[in-house]
């Protein structure tokens, strides 16, 4: 998954990957091929869903898919299967100009996979979708990944992408700031466990800052306590009970993709 703010170079990366753009310097390999010299073969084996999928709006969904099928040397039946898989088969005879954003995204996904690409590149596939459509699209992407396809997804809607990514790349100003497995990155960038603690009287929790192993405390509705080890949690609870405090919540925080993203960005900006 490619993460990064607007202008980081996510779309450019997709374009370079298919050979649609030429890099100023550096080398790219996709499926072992150089897109600059073997662009036609790379593009035939890759499917792309651009950020704002465009179609020939005066033509029907079926006509647009038939065109794509010819370009990618696929059968019409494969196009129909793809449309059915993404739930757009019922609208194939309508002109695409009358499609909603969700329908266009589904058609774009069907168009991108009808030739059964080995790599699927999705550039902001849920942008502009309502939550239900976005969830549905993400489920379909997860299903494709489960079938062994490589999926590269650019997004800044991190909460929607939670749990999908098995490899993250943080881009900024066209540079890879960091990359790796989300769990490994979490260990690297957020190594200290955080526990959320709340009580009937928040003031009564002030004693926690004096305890051993407490590295940091911040307030975000409840107290977020950063510890040197998760083993400190029982000690905190015992001490609270001793002091007559009535805790209402003690919950280890599992960092979200968004937490990790902001932590990675913060770390790299501090390093600069």
């Amino acid at each position: 998954m490619l993460l990064g703010p607007n202008g980081a170079g996510k779309t450019t990366t997709v374009r370079l990957t298919t050979g649609a753009m030429t890099p100023d310097f550096g080398a790219i390999r996709v499926l072992g091929l150089d897109p600059l010299t073997n662009g036609d073969e790379v593009r035939a084996r890759v499917g792309v869903v651009p950020p704002k999928p465009a179609f020939y709006d005066q033509l029907s969904g079926r006509e647009n898919l038939a065109f794509a099928a010819t370009i990618f040397e696929a059968d019409e039946s494969e196009a129909n299967d793809a449309a059915a898989r993404f739930g757009i088969d019922h609208a194939l005879d309508q002109d695409v100009g009358g499609y909603s954003t969700g329908m266009r995204t589904r058609l774009a996904l069907a168009r991108a996979v009808l030739h059964d690409p080995e790599v699927l590149m999705l550039d902001e596939p849920t942008a502009g979708l309502d939550p239900e459509s976005a969830r549905s699209v993400l489920d379909l992407i997860a299903e494709m990944a489960g079938r062994g396809r490589t999926i590269v997804m650019c997004t800044h809607l991190l909460h929607e992408a939670e749990g999908i990514a098995d490899h993250l790349v943080l881009l900024e100003d066209g540079q890879v700031r960091t990359s790796g497995d989300p769990k490994a990155l979490t260990r690297k960038y957020m190594p200290d466990p955080i526990v959320i603690i709340d009580a009937e009287d928040m003031e009564s929790l002030r004693f926690i800052s004096e305890l051993d192993g407490v590295l940091d405390i911040r307030y975000d509705g409840a107290m977020h306590v950063t510890l040197d080890s998760v083993d400190r949690v029982p000690d905190i609870v015992i001490e609270a009970v001793k002091r007559g405090v009535r805790p209402t919540r003690v919950e280890p925080l599992t960092p979200t993709l968004e937490d990790l993203y902001f932590e990675m960005q913060r770390t790299h900006r501090e390093e600069q």
Partner: protein, 274 residues
């Protein structure tokens, strides 16, 4: 070169054009005016006004032409000879103006139009080579113009034969010169204009700019082809064949070099130099 893919791009371009009535209806009206309305008005007027100053003036103009050409002008009275001269010689260049204008209008929009619609992004990520896209766009732009030329030519022939035919003793049109013009000379001129217009369409940033810029190409080509067409109709057939051959050579060179002027980045809507 993968022709099924090229044909798919051509088919979708033509189908899209066919479904965009706002685009082709003005072009049909343009063809109708040049091939049908104008000849009916002019030739009909000449037929009605058998004796007038205008007829004698046209007679004087015909009298200045070389003897060989004068002998080709049929009719046994000044009005008939004037009608024949109008039908065969003076209105000839319209056969070039209309198809060139139509092809230019379609061609100017072809590549920059993909970029404006966003469909260029899809083509850029597709396995189509730039050469295949260029050839498809060229043919898709050529077909409407040439089709308009052929259909218009047939209508013009019908109008001319109906109005002037009875005066000269039957159907006389098209002449060999006209056939050569339509089938051999016009196509390379359209190709020359289109090869230049597609380069422009790939360079400019909007369809509006492409249309403006294309007039810079279309007008000189129209003027040149107008002059060539007019001259060829007065010349021996061999001259027309030779002129067509030279035009085909120029067109071939421009077409071959044309595909190299288009960069894949241009379909994405970003500068190829960026």
């Amino acid at each position: 070169m993968r022709w099924p893919m090229i044909k798919a791009v051509i088919r979708i371009d033509l189908y899209r054009l066919f479904k965009t009535k706002d685009y082709w209806i003005p072009l049909v009206i343009l063809g109708g005016i040049f091939f049908v309305v104008l000849p009916i008005v002019l030739l009909g007027s000449l037929g009605l006004v058998q004796q007038s100053g205008a007829i004698s003036q046209i007679g004087q103009i015909i009298g200045t032409l070389p003897e060989a050409i004068q002998q080709n002008i049929e009719g046994d009275n000044p009005a008939t000879r004037a009608s024949y001269a109008f039908a065969v010689y003076l209105l000839a260049p319209i056969a070039i103006v209309v198809p060139l204008t139509i092809s230019s209008a379609v061609g100017a929009n072809s590549i920059v139009g993909e970029r404006e619609r966003g469909t260029g992004e899809y083509l850029a990520h597709s396995p189509l080579t730039v050469k295949e896209i260029y050839i498809a766009k060229l043919i898709a732009s050529l077909i409407p113009g040439y089709l308009a030329g052929i259909v218009g030519f047939a209508l013009y022939a019908l109008v001319v034969n109906i109005i002037v035919g009875p005066q000269v003793g039957g159907w006389f049109f098209p002449t060999v010169g006209w056939m050569l013009l339509v089938l051999w000379v016009i196509p390379p001129f359209i190709a020359i204009a289109l090869s230049l217009i597609l380069r422009l369409s790939a360079k400019v940033r909007s369809a509006a700019s492409a249309h403006q810029a294309s007039s810079l190409v279309t007008l000189p080509v129209i003027l040149m082809s107008y002059a060539v067409a007019t001259g060829l109709l007065y010349s021996p057939v061999i001259s027309a064949a030779a002129a067509g051959f030279i035009a085909w050579i120029i067109a071939a060179v421009l077409l071959i070099t044309g595909s190299k002027s288009i960069k894949r980045e241009r379909l994405l809507g970003v500068s190829a130099d960026a």
